[in-house]
């Protein structure tokens, strides 16, 4: 085209002619955005990689099962594996949960969310899902790989047992994501600054275990240890992965986990009371 006759294109505003999606799935971009922001942190990426290291150690234990069976049976492998992965999940929640609600309150981003076609439930679901996915990633990812490895290395392992271990892993991950996820969101909504919220979360996680231990000693009721956020999940894992699960301990651990989830959710709802109607 002759440059003398080339048209000047208007770079001003043009109307959007595409389609807008359903208002029921707005939680998804919120969750993905939170995860995307967390992935910018190199320590979060390193944590995700590091969460697969125990897989190597426990894979070796699975290989040596015949030699070590008297010391470490399959149940103990899974129980110890879960105990180890929980620590990674706590740190994963530190990265994704610390900035979730508090930073939105501080920067006024809630006004931006709720001036869009986003309602309160979609917002909370998106925030929780981001934390849950990050924790689920470090719990379920290596866990399912270890399960596949165990099944591959042990042709005698019944399919029903392998499937039950998989189901237990998924259930435990979901339960821990519920309890820890809501607690970390609650702390984030109260703390305001992301880093402070993250530190408080780690403190609360370990303090809840210490408090549960102290309570169980004071009342001379060992089962009350299950009321700690982490201990509850660990005791539940111990019971479910063992050959003979104690129903009462399972129920108490489950109740503890659900109670933490409800407490966390209530704090978030109270903190965001003025936005709740939206």
């Amino acid at each position: 085209m002759n440059p003398d006759t080339a048209r000047i294109h208007d770079q001003g505003y043009r109307p959007f002619k595409g389609k807008l999606g359903s208002v029921r799935t707005r939680f998804w971009p919120i969750a993905v955005n939170e995860l995307r922001l967390s992935f910018r942190n190199k320590w979060f990426k390193r944590l995700l990689w590091a969460s697969f290291f125990p897989l190597g150690v426990f894979s070796v234990l699975v290989l040596l099962r015949h030699v070590m069976e008297s010391m470490l049976g399959p149940s103990q492998v899974w129980q110890n594996f879960w105990r180890t992965q929980l620590l990674f999940a706590v740190v994963a929640a530190y990265f994704t949960g610390r900035r979730a609600v508090g930073e939105d309150l501080r920067s006024g981003a809630l006004t931006l969310y709720f001036s869009r076609a986003v309602d309160f439930r979609q917002y909370l679901l998106g925030k929780w899902l981001a934390v849950a996915l990050s924790m689920g990633g470090v719990l379920l990812g290596p866990g399912l790989l270890l399960l596949v490895f165990s099944a591959a290395m042990d042709p005698d392992l019944p399919l029903s047992v392998a499937l039950s271990w998989g189901a237990i892993l998924i259930a435990l991950s979901l339960l821990f994501a519920l309890s820890a996820g809501w607690v970390v969101l609650a702390i984030s909504s109260l703390a305001g600054r992301g880093r402070a919220a993250g530190i408080v979360w780690v403190v609360v996680y370990f303090a809840s275990s210490a408090a549960a231990v102290a309570l169980s000693s004071a009342l001379n009721t060992p089962d009350l240890v299950s009321l700690g956020i982490g201990d509850g999940s660990m005791r539940l894992a111990n019971e479910l992965f063992s050959q003979h699960a104690d129903l009462a301990t399972c129920m108490l651990s489950l109740a503890g986990q659900v109670a933490w989830a409800i407490l966390g959710a209530l704090v978030v709802l109270l903190r965001l009371a003025r936005w709740r109607r939206l």
Partner: protein, 314 residues
């Protein structure tokens, strides 16, 4: 999206409470397509009205409609078709401008790829260049205002609700923002509700006007009509007898300013009084008019008058 309505929204007998405080008192108005100025002092109820139109506040015993929808019943559908620019400095932390605007698009239901390309278009429209790749946390007020406007435009709304868009801007930034608003309303066919307490912003951009004071609508209609109702101003110069002419015009019911040593009289005509009064008075007194120029009534004068009337009434 170009709206096909003449009247884009209305509310009838709308009340809004914050606890015991009545923020809107029986507000009834119609919003016309085009640019409407929502004018009022701080605390007049402008932001409350905008939040109600967005469906962020409950509506009791009142009829509110925007773009053919009831915001209290279908708030998400209303927000999908409306772009809202809040007054406060709000942003998504740790995000660049382009990410911010694209995320707003996604929250409005756009796919990731659509949202990203539209974010660039919207930022082009508000003339934000390379700075769009920097985190918004470090932006100046003017740049943040432009990002907010781009975020407001990204999903292609038919109606923009702008809450104090020139607040905190320097003269150059304000000029640019008003230019953008004028361009969107006049050349791109978008309907805009511009909430502000700055009269000049309304005078330069809006065809329609709603005046609020203490939660009540004092005026709702065409801006020019509002200004004309305050009367118009004339500059009159007579060959001799300036003082006599001033007295005669005062007797005829006009307000006249006489500046010492200045032969030009500044005359404010009451509503309904025609400029011919000058010729009539001059002929009767035998005075020779050398110059007669007129100007439209100013928004300042009209606003001052209506506020004074409201104050007297209260």
């Amino acid at each position: 999206m170009i709206l096909e309505f003449d009247v884009i929204g209305h509310c009838n007998n709308l009340n809004q409470h914050y606890g015991a405080f009545l923020a809107l008192k029986g507000v009834s108005l119609e919003l016309q397509a085009g640019c409407t100025g929502l004018l009022g002092n701080n605390g007049a109820g402008k932001s409350t009205l905008l939040k109600t139109l967005l469906g962020q506040l409950p509506v009791q015993k009142a009829k509110v409609e925007l773009l053919g929808m009831d915001p209290a019943v279908e708030p998400l559908k209303v927000r999908q078709r409306v772009g809202y620019m809040p007054e406060r400095e709000v942003y998504f932390p740790d995000m660049t401008a382009v990410e911010q605007v694209a995320f707003c698009g996604q929250l409005s239901g756009m796919s990731r790829s659509d949202a990203l390309s539209r974010a660039h278009e919207s930022l082009d429209a508000v003339s934000l260049g390379e700075a769009r790749y920097r985190a918004v946390d470090g932006y100046s007020t003017g740049m943040r205002q432009r990002v907010k406007l781009a975020a407001c435009l990204v999903h292609g709304p038919g109606l923009l609700l702008l809450d104090e868009p020139t607040s905190g801007l320097d003269p150059e930034g304000r000029e640019m923002m008003l230019g953008l608003i004028r361009d969107l309303a006049q050349d791109r066919g978008l309907s805009i509700v511009l909430s502000t307490h700055i009269l000049q912003d309304v005078e330069r951009t809006c065809d329609w006007l709603v005046v609020l004071a203490e939660g009540q609508v004092l005026y709702s209609g065409a801006r020019k009509q509002f200004q004309a109702a305050s009367g118009s101003r004339l500059q009159v110069k007579v060959k001799t007898g300036t003082r006599t002419m001033a007295d005669l015009l005062r007797d005829a019911g006009c307000k006249v300013d006489v500046r010492p040593g200045d032969p030009v009289l500044d005359v404010e005509l009451e509503p309904g009084v025609e400029r011919d009064i000058v010729w009539t008075v001059a002929k009767r007194a035998g005075l020779q008019v050398r110059r007669l120029t007129s100007s439209e009534g100013s928004l300042d004068a009209a606003y001052a008058r209506i506020m004074q009337e409201h104050g007297d009434g209260a």
